[in-house]
Subunit: 89 residues, 2 copies
Amino acid sequence: MNSAFRALADPTRRDIIELLRGGSLTSGEIAQHFPVAWATISRHLAILRDAGLILAERHGQQIVYELNTTVVEDLIHHLMGWVKPGAQP
Amino acid sequence: MNSAFRALADPTRRDIIELLRGGSLTSGEIAQHFPVAWATISRHLAILRDAGLILAERHGQQIVYELNTTVVEDLIHHLMGWVKPGAQP
DNA sequence: GTTGTAATTAGCCATTTAGCTTATTAGCTT
DNA sequence: AAGCTAATAAGCTAAATGGCTAATTACAAC
């Protein structure tokens, strides 16, 4: 859970997530949308993957990434616990 | 919005938020719950305050902090936009 | 106004992080 | 197996971050 919060702290990584809302994309397609080096995007993807926020699947010689909505939902529930007074403190 | 995500990246700051779920507390009361120096907690509080996640109010010579649920709710809505496919991409 | 208490700010240090460039791995295709 | 493309890993650097101690502000009470 901590790694998910850490992963979301970087705006580029949040942009990657927003990008993946539109559907699965390869690492190269994702990198094209950003003004940083491909290797930098690749590391962002690794951080998001380690946090469980995205899922990677190899298709031939390219790797397709997709948003893992399950972990995002877990985050939402976590945050909802902060605003719901009755939840387990 | 970015500052809120950044603020939540640190586990101590998330613990402070969880602590404030139980009700408003002074800076000193908050600091007592953590094994770090008071000045360090004070800076964490400033970061949370700048991000709008907590509200500060002076009562005499002490300052009382409380959770700002409004900004937490904004965060929740932001995250929900990631899992709801129909929302504005 | 001086003393005391609550809290923040300033200044310093070690660690982490995000970026880059240059290798290296993994899988096609010939 | 040799070459080509997609992607990650390695190694480096500058900037940000979280911790500390010491100094400073803000208010209250004497």
